[in-house]
C-alpha cells in the first residue's frame, strides 16, 4: 500500500546502517504502515494495548535497574539484567530525543523463556506501536512478549511451540 512521504522517510531510517547495524526491518519487505497495522491487529486480538505492553516492559526494566548491570531476581519468578552502552540513538520516527543504548535481558524462570529488548524498543512500542519487522535483530513479537512477560491470565495465550 502506498504510504506518505513521511512514512517513506521513516522507513529509510530503519534501514541497516542508518541507526543500527542491521536496521529494524529484518527480512520484512512490507511497508512500515503495513507492519504497524498488522502488529496493531495482533495486539488487539490478544486483548492488550501498546501502552500496557510498554508499561510492563518498563516495570521489569525498572526492577532490574538496581542490579547495575548484574542479573537480579525480580517480581517473584523473573531474572532481569539491565546493561547499557554509552551513546544515544535517535528514534526512526524522527522526533526530538536520543534514547540510551540500554539492553534488558529477561528470563522467565517459570517457563524458561528468555527475551532481550532495548530502551528504544520500549519507546517505539509505547509511543508508536512499532515492534520492528519480521527477522529484525530486536523484533519483539507481541505474542511472545505477552507470553514471556505474562501479560494475560495463564492459558489465554497459545503456549510456546516446542522446537529447536
Amino acid at each position: 500500500m502506498k504510504q506518505s512521504v513521511r512514512d517513506d522517510q521513516i522507513q529509510e531510517q530503519m534501514r541497516p546502517g542508518v541507526i543500527t547495524r542491521d536496521g529494524m526491518l529484518g527480512a520484512d519487505r512490507r511497508k512500515v504502515r503495513d507492519i504497524l497495522e498488522a502488529d496493531d491487529a495482533a495486539v488487539r486480538r490478544l486483548g492488550l494495548t501498546h501502552a500496557r505492553i510498554a508499561a510492563r516492559m518498563r516495570e521489569l526494566r525498572d526492577a532490574g535497574a538496581a542490579g547495575l548491570g548484574q542479573a537480579i531476581d525480580v517480581l517473584d519468578h523473573f531474572e532481569v539484567r539491565v546493561d547499557s552502552a554509552r551513546g544515544g540513538l535517535p528514534c526512526p520516527f524522527m522526533h526530538e530525543g536520543l534514547f540510551g543504548k540500554e539492553f534488558v535481558e529477561v528470563l522467565n524462570r517459570r517457563s524458561g523463556e528468555r527475551l532481550t529488548f532495548t530502551a528504544l524498543n520500549v519507546h517505539m512500542i509505547g509511543t508508536h506501536g512499532f515492534y520492528e519487522g519480521e527477522g529484525a535483530f530486536f523484533r519483539q513479537d507481541p505474542q511472545v512478549l505477552a507470553r514471556v512477560l505474562e501479560l494475560l491470565p495463564e492459558g489465554s495465550v497459545p503456549a510456546a511451540q516446542k522446537g529447536p
Binding site: K2, S4, V5, D8
Partner: protein, 197 residues
C-alpha cells in the same frame, strides 16, 4: 473545433470539461497530495505551469516535426519525454525558490511527469485538432481546472479533518473518492454551457 476561441476553450477546460472531474484524469497525486491547502497550492501551481508549457511545446513538436515526417505514431513517446524533461526543470526551479515546498511535495513532484492529465491534455490537443492558441487555452485551462479541483479537495478535507468524524473504514482514499465523486456531480451542472467536442 475551429470556431472556439481562446477564452471559450479556457473557460470550458476549467469548468465544463474539467480534466479531473469530468475526464477523471490525474487522480493519483490528486488523492495523495490533497490533505493540506499549502502543499496543494504548490502542487497545483506546478501542474498548471507544466501542463500549459508542455501542451504548447508538444503542439510545436507535433505540428512541425512529427506530422511533416509522417511520424505521428511516435507522439506518445515524444510527448512523455518532453513532459519528463519539463518536470525536471520545474523541480529545479522549486528547489531553488522554496526548499520547504520542495521537501513537502517530496515524491509527488517528480510524479507530475507521470500524471496522466498532463499527457491527456497533449493527446486531447491532437484528437481535437486544436490550433496553437486553442492548445494554449486548453493546456492552461486544464491546468487551472486541475489546480482548482485539488484546492477545493484540500479545503474540504482540511475542514472535514477538523470538524467531522469520518468512519474508520473510509479514512484516507475512501472519503477522498467520495468527495471527488460529489464534486464531479456538482460540476456536471455546468454541462451544455460550452461543448469542447
Amino acid at each position: 473545433m475551429e470556431s472556439l476561441g481562446f477564452f471559450a476553450i479556457f473557460f470550458s477546460a476549467v469548468f465544463t470539461n474539467n480534466i479531473l472531474l469530468t475526464n477523471y484524469l490525474g487522480m493519483c497525486s490528486f488523492l495523495g497530495c490533497s490533505r493540506e491547502l499549502k502543499t496543494s497550492f504548490g502542487l497545483g501551481a506546478a501542474v498548471i505551469f507544466v501542463m500549459a508549457a508542455t501542451s504548447v511545446l508538444n503542439w510545436l513538436v507535433y505540428t512541425y516535426v512529427l506530422v511533416p515526417l509522417n511520424l505521428d505514431y511516435l507522439r506518445f513517446i515524444v510527448f512523455i519525454v518532453v513532459i519528463a524533461a519539463f518536470t525536471q526543470l520545474v523541480e529545479m526551479i522549486i528547489e531553488r525558490v522554496s526548499e520547504a515546498l520542495y521537501l513537502s511535495l517530496g515524491l509527488f513532484l517528480p510524479l507530475i511527469a507521470v500524471n496522466c492529465a498532463i499527457l491527456g491534455a497533449s493527446l486531447f490537443m491532437v484528437i481535437r485538432q486544436y490550433t496553437f492558441w486553442q492548445t494554449f487555452g486548453y493546456g492552461l485551462g486544464a491546468g487551472v481546472g486541475w489546480g482548482l479541483a485539488i484546492l477545493a479537495m484540500a479545503g474540504i478535507r482540511q475542514r472535514l479533518a477538523q470538524r467531522s468524524r469520518v468512519p474508520a473504514g473510509l479514512e484516507g482514499p475512501g472519503i477522498a473518492l467520495i468527495i471527488a465523486g460529489t464534486m464531479a456531480l456538482a460540476f456536471m451542472g455546468f454541462n451544455g454551457m460550452v461543448s469542447l467536442n
